[in-house]
């Protein structure tokens, strides 16, 4: 019985101190009277600081000596030295059947049994290489916009000012704060708001206007509107004013500011956050090591929660026989309810009517787009179906409007099968799941 003390990436280790402190360490591990399992009261001396092989036929007692005697005793002595509180987590350890062991040092066992069964462990994580990679990426990685692949850079207001001042002295420029970025609308409200905030000019679709002259915009077209924060000519003594303007602009436009050179029309875009100037809807997080962990919600793909794969219903198991028509019960988990009155077949009827396909065509001959709807649903579509009312005394139906989410989502069977006495449905549904 090997218990675990502490935890290494793989399995267990134990630390065991020399039994009597102050004793000069011998150059041997001396085992006297080992009788564990089939060991015949043997004495063994093992030289220290050497590479020692214990060999012998299978079952001759090699492991009994190495693991069940030497390692077990080392571990037991260590555990005995712990407080009663700590020991409760470690399991009781029997003293191996041995008279005496001297010269033991802290023992670490590297066996083959203790491997991780966790699907989130990878070679990278157990060797801690991935932890260092995460750190590396968080510290020296270059973020890019996931949509356009453009490098995104984050700058402090001071750095932005420095860069603007690097331009030749006397360069005339506008500092612009983007407010509307290539979107449709009239934007009548913008001019009064800007006026209230103390701005006097605005640049609309590339032309600078006074706020009073704010143009009428075509509702159907996309527009770009930028507030003009300041008009300056670069020189060494405007640093103070420039810094204020940059900070003001960054505040107004959620951390983005543009510098437009009046003469050349050249535009430079600066960002205080990791944000792509073109795709401002994407905000990149502050990058920290945890963002690179697929075991943390900060980094993991939300769809598969960081596993990289998902269990999904296999369409071939849902519709194993493509020569059947839907009316004949091609959808296997529902196959036995094809009495035309059942909830599913009514529902399917409604789906077929809404999308204009027939239930009497073999699945193999159906249009693939129709089959897609049958399997994966049409979430945007409301279908009407005459669903029989549960347990009617007089046969009645009511028309209800539902959205169809597809055969592969298995809407009701799993839930109802648990309660219902008939087990066929759970049986069928589960076999479609397990066989995959």
């Amino acid at each position: 019985m090997r218990a675990t003390v502490g935890s290494l990436p793989f399995g267990s280790f134990s630390v065991q101190l020399h039994p009597v402190s102050g004793v000069v360490m011998t150059d041997k591990i001396v085992v006297r009277g080992a009788r564990e399992h089939n060991l015949k009261n043997i004495n063994v001396e093992i030289p220290r600081d050497q590479l020692v092989v214990i060999t012998g036929l299978s079952g001759s007692g090699k492991s009994s000596l190495a693991f069940d005697t030497i390692y077990a005793e080392g571990q037991r002595r260590y555990v005995e030295s712990l407080s009663a509180y700590a020991r409760q987590f470690l399991g009781l350890m029997e003293k191996p059947d041995v008279d005496q062991i001297d010269g033991l040092s802290p023992a670490i066992s590297i066996d083959q049994k203790s491997s991780s069964r966790n699907p989130r462990s990878t070679v990278g994580t157990v060797t801690e290489i991935y932890d260092y990679l995460r750190l590396l990426y968080a510290r020296v990685g270059t973020p890019h916009c996931p949509l356009c692949g453009r490098e995104v850079v984050r700058q402090t207001p001071g750095q932005i000012v420095d860069q603007i001042l690097e331009l030749p002295e006397g360069t005339k420029m506008y500092l612009l704060a983007p407010i509307v970025d290539d979107k449709k609308g009239e934007y009548r409200h913008i001019a009064p708001e800007l006026a209230k905030a103390g701005y006097t000019r605005v640049r609309v679709d590339g032309t600078v206007y006074d706020l009073a002259d704010f143009p009428n915009l075509d509702k159907q077209r996309k527009h770009t509107i930028e507030a003009v924060i300041d008009r300056i000519a670069t020189s060494s003594d405007i640093r103070q004013r420039l810094t204020e303007s940059v900070e003001q602009g960054l505040n107004l436009a959620d951390g983005i500011i543009k510098a437009l050179q009046a003469d050349t029309g050249e535009m430079r875009i600066f960002s205080e956050h990791y944000a792509c100037p073109e795709h401002r809807e994407i905000s990149l997080p502050e990058i920290a090591p945890r963002n690179f962990s697929f075991n943390s919600p900060h980094g993991a793909c939300p769809h598969c929660t960081g596993l990289g794969s998902r269990l999904e219903v296999d369409p071939e198991l849902v519709i194993p026989n493509r020569r059947l028509t839907l009316a004949e019960g091609a959808i296997r988990p529902w196959a036995k309810t094809t009495s035309r009155m059942s909830w599913y077949s009514k529902l399917l009827d409604g789906v077929a009517k809404a999308n204009g396909f027939s239930l009497d065509v073999p699945v193999a001959d159906m249009k693939s787009s129709d089959l897609r709807i049958v399997l994966y649903g049409a979430p945007d579509q409301s279908i009407s179906s005459e669903v029989p009312v549960a347990a009617p005394t007089i046969p009645t139906t009511k028309v209800s409007f539902l959205t169809w989410s597809g055969a592969t989502t298995i809407p009701i069977p799993i839930l109802s099968a648990k309660k219902s006495k008939s087990t066929w449905r759970s049986g069928n549904v589960q076999s479609a799941m397990v066989n995959g």
Partner: protein, 544 residues
């Protein structure tokens, strides 16, 4: 349901904005998809500038040292994103070994259990160098091992024996490898000195001229290869770790054949076609997965021999007088078992916040049966005494009952004479579990057209045990069956009739067939790592 790659991240596991962060133009996932060897090369060539280089220097040092330790223990073919639960036991162990070397502790006692498992002879040399490095750091390294090279490289050898089980448990020889080799009492010594050895067969079996052919194998790193496996022979698939042996044999061949012959549901790996399926009628794949996770399973129940033994006890006159049926002698059902411990022999006492304590059942005194069942004796032994026997004892005890004796003999022949019949299935190592399964299959009547697939059957076996195992495998082949083994053990390789050597390297550098033919033919192949070692062996034997 089927496991599908996540459609949102395409199996990359991270959010898109995180994947867009790059170092040297590569995302973190691009890096983890590299093998350890490739990653090491990339990092040694990585150039960062200025501030970045300053920040990264510490991190890069840690990454590089870990990568190089992993390379040293022969794992350069593993990719960093390889899931830990798909690692073989030996691979997982060597990862831990690499981590330990990285910790640079000294004065520690390391105990390792057969670290050479799953390693090609070429990588074994590097493993030994790693163990020596661990020692040179100032540690004591104790290795439980059968591998000849490891034994020769060690400073001190302790040979436990002389035989297994009751006949073992003594120190037969100890000293330097040379001293042990000179000790005639030591079985290990005799193999080291060459006084005893596994003889290379003088003739290779020609087989039955039939074969099965795998066409266009592309699973994992296999590069669309065609492989022919001749039938009626002992065939070994060899190659360095990660060269694609398991992908070919386990993932494609074994799964396809069990789907065809036994309607198994597992999807075989990617390949175009397998021809010659009509030449076989059964496949038996014996892997190293445990024989059972319940402590109530044991070798006697697993091999089915316990049913016969219970019948036998029910036939004893005293049992007949009392009207006891076979069920009375089962420790799993009511009737004969001890009801206090329900046939476990031990009782688990839950101590709530203290750990569970196991005590011997006070009613049956650990015998698992009630008084009535234990009053029936066969040849002076109760059914509980029988469960306590080793296989070796059982062979003698049941020598007059052929049906029972045969099953125990097969267990004995695969080198399991020392295990107890009632030993809980959870206590067996992977190699032992595999041999129990092998024995169970061997006890069945072979059809003469069966394909046996074994993955490293020599795991945990001493030279002498390997010799006995070869005898068992040869007996199977001699009755017309085909035995296909994945193996690194050179004694098995040189004793095979036909070899398929994969390579040349592991991971993306492998996946090809480098050589195939008899061991003599492969030994002449200069590109084959296996061939080189075979050549050395044949030259050595020719000298003698």
């Amino acid at each position: 349901m089927a496991e599908r790659e996540c459609p949102v991240c395409n199996g990359q596991r991270l959010k898109p904005e995180i994947l867009a962060v790059t170092v040297d133009g590569k995302s973190i996932v691009d890096l983890t998809r590299l093998s350890i060897g490739e990653a090491h090369r990339l990092f040694s060539e990585l150039k960062l500038e200025g501030r970045q280089a300053q920040i990264a220097v510490q991190i890069l040092k840690e990454i590089e040292s870990r990568l190089s330790f992993l390379q040293d223990v022969g794992l350069e073919y593993l990719t960093l994103d390889r899931s830990a639960n798909t690692l073989a036991g030996g691979e997982a162990q060597r990862i831990r070994l690499a981590t330990q070397i990285g910790s640079s502790l000294m004065g520690v006692l390391y105990i390792l259990d057969e670290p050479s498992i799953g390693l090609h002879q070429r990588d074994n040399d590097r493993l030994i160098a790693t163990l020596e490095r661990l020692r040179d750091l100032g540690n004591t390294v104790i290795v439980v091992e059968h591998d000849e090279d490891t034994i020769r490289a060690s400073n001190y050898v302790i040979d436990i024996g002389p035989a297994a089980g009751e006949h073992g448990g003594e120190v037969v020889a100890s000293g330097t490898p040379d001293e042990v080799a000179a000790n005639p009492a030591s079985l290990t010594g005799q193999y080291l000195s060459g006084a005893k050895r596994i003889v290379t067969p003088a003739k290779r079996r020609p087989g039955n001229r039939k074969s099965i052919v795998i066409k266009g194998a592309r699973e994992h790193n296999l590069q669309g290869i065609d492989v022919e496996i001749p039938l009626g022979r002992l065939v070994s698939v060899t190659g360095v770790s990660g060269s694609g042996k398991s992908s070919l044999v386990n993932d494609i061949l074994a799964k396809k054949l069990s789907a065809v012959y036994h309607r198994a549901g597992d999807l075989p790996g990617k390949h175009d076609d397998i021809q010659g399926l009509g030449n076989l009628d059964k496949v038996i794949s014996v892997d190293q997965s445990p024989i059972g996770r319940t402590p109530r399973s044991n070798p006697a129940t697993y091999t089915g021999v316990f049913t016969d033994i219970r019948e036998l006890f029910a036939q004893v006159p005293e049992a007949k007088i009392r009207g006891y049926k076979a069920g009375r002698f089962s420790f799993n059902v009511k009737g004969g078992r001890c009801e206090l411990c329900r046939g476990d022999g031990i009782i688990k006492i839950e101590m709530h916040f203290l750990p569970d304590v196991y005590v011997t059942c006070e009613d049956c005194k650990g015998k698992r049966y009630n008084r009535e069942a234990l009053e029936i004796y066969y040849k002076g032994k109760t059914v509980s005494d029988v469960l306590d026997m080793t296989v070796e004892e059982a062979v003698k005890f049941f020598e007059n009952i052929p049906s029972i004796r045969r099953k125990f003999e097969t267990l004995f022949n695969v080198g399991l004479g020392y295990i107890h019949l009632g030993q809980s299935a959870t206590t067996f190592s992977g190699g032992e579990a595999q041999r129990i399964k092998l024995a169970t299959e061997l006890a069945r009547r072979s059809t003469g057209r069966t394909l046996y697939i074994l993955d490293e059957p020599t795991t945990g076996l001493h030279f002498e045990d390997v010799n006995r195992l070869l005898g068992v495998l040869n007996a199977l082949v001699d009755t017309g069956n085909t035995v296909l083994v994945i193996e690194h053990n050179l004694d098995v390789i040189k004793s095979s009739d036909w070899l398929v050597d994969m390579g040349p390297e592991g991971g993306s550098g492998g996946g090809l067939v480098i050589a195939q033919g008899t061991p003599e033919m492969v030994a002449k192949e200069p590109d084959s790592h296996t061939g080189r070692y075979l050549k050395r062996i044949f030259a050595h034997e020719a000298q003698k």
